[in-house]
Amino acid sequence: MGDRDAFGELVQKYKQQIYFVAYRMTNNHTDADDLSQEAFIKAYESICNFQEKSSFFTWLYRIIMNITINHLKKMGRRQIFTLDENISIEDISNPEKIAESRQLNEEITKAINSLPLKQKAVVELALLEGLPHREIAQILGCREKTVSWRLFQARNKLKEKLRFVV
């Protein structure tokens, strides 16, 4: 039970970050909820495999990225644009601006979703989470140069998709 309590503390500390990684990749609350929980379960079961070569957070990130990417591959990467009932949009007072914001949000989401999964993962971690390339390389299990190259390719594609906005 001591192990469970200690793990519970880790969950409380990282639940939001892990949830949002899954959410940004899937754009779906139900999937994000399910996948983040799955990631924590997998982490709990394989905690003895954590070799402290990276930080715990990096290791956890790696688990959620792998689970989410595998999930998206199985789903055939269907794009889901839903505003679930139990979530609330951040406060913007002007209704027109809200609509504009939603429209823009959808365009950005569509553009990100059109990226290949590996590029999407790098965009999520580098541009949205703000992680350094070295850490992203550890999470994704690739070289730093690979991360830079994927980001370069992703940015080129996004430039094409969002040119009308820019």
């Binding site: 505003l83 950005i108 541009l127």
Partner: protein
């Protein structure tokens, strides 16, 4: 630096992930080239756009219940895993039992074959033990002499034939407590072949495990199986 090359490194420049030399070279180029500078500005705007993407948050209640929900799931997973392990174990046992049956049957067939050979060997040993050297030599030398009469030009076959005889006689002598080395024969060319040839074979030869000279034994077995030998045995038994 050319614009094409600079463009490839703009992404790294924006992330500050380039080596100092490259970074300085690109900075120098950007100061002079509006086209590349525009490209960098576009990239920066897109980065900022992505960061604008609204982060839709679940309710406070959702976060408060998160751990409780996860804990229930952990308990359910543990239970499922246990029953899964048990059924995997049962499936493994069935497959293992099936494979084991197959192995046992194959082993049984193999052992029967060995037993048959062993029985033949034992019969031969029993026979050797019961008869005199003279009786055995008469009937064993028969195939050997048959071979030697035709082999002035084939000394190898000659020696092999004699050796086979010697081994058989060596076994016979041993069974009677005699030294198998004290025995010799002359082949058709007059060369004396001593019992030690047979003794050498006996030293290395393991009757029970059918090992070193398995080929040799199979030759003796074929002698034993031959009509001449069988007739010889019958006659020896009649005389005995």
């Amino acid at each position: 630096m050319e614009c094409e090359k600079v463009n490839r490194f703009l992404s790294g420049y924006l992330d500050n992930s380039l080596k100092v030399t490259y970074r300085n070279a690109i900075k120098e180029h950007l100061a002079k080239c509006h086209k590349c500078m525009d490209e960098l500005n576009t990239m920066t705007k897109i980065d900022n756009l992505l960061k604008l993407k609204v982060r839709e948050k679940p309710s406070k209640e959702y976060w408060e219940n998160y751990w409780q929900k996860l804990e229930s799931r952990l308990d359910r997973t543990a239970t499922l895993r246990l029953s899964g392990v048990q059924s995997s174990f049962n499936r493994f046992i069935s497959k293992f039992a099936f494979a084991l049956n197959g192995i046992l049957i194959a082993l049984l067939i193999f052992l029967s074959g060995l037993l048959h050979i062993r029985t033949q060997q034992m019969e031969w040993l029993q026979y050797v033990h019961e008869k005199t050297i003279e009786q055995i030599s008469t009937y064993l030398l028969y195939p050997a002499t048959r071979a030697t009469t035709n082999v002035k030009t084939n000394a190898l076959r000659d020696c092999k034939a004699i050796s086979r005889t010697l081994v058989s006689l060596g076994i016979a002598k041993q069974s009677q407590g005699l030294n198998p080395g004290n025995f010799s024969e002359r082949n058709s060319t007059g060369t004396e072949i001593h019992g030690f040839h047979g003794a050498q074979f006996l030293d290395k030869y393991d009757m029970l495990t059918y090992n070193y000279h398995s080929k040799f034994w199979s030759e003796i077995s074929s002698d034993v199986a031959s009509e001449e030998f069988k007739n010889g045995v019958k006659n020896a038994k009649k005389e005995g």
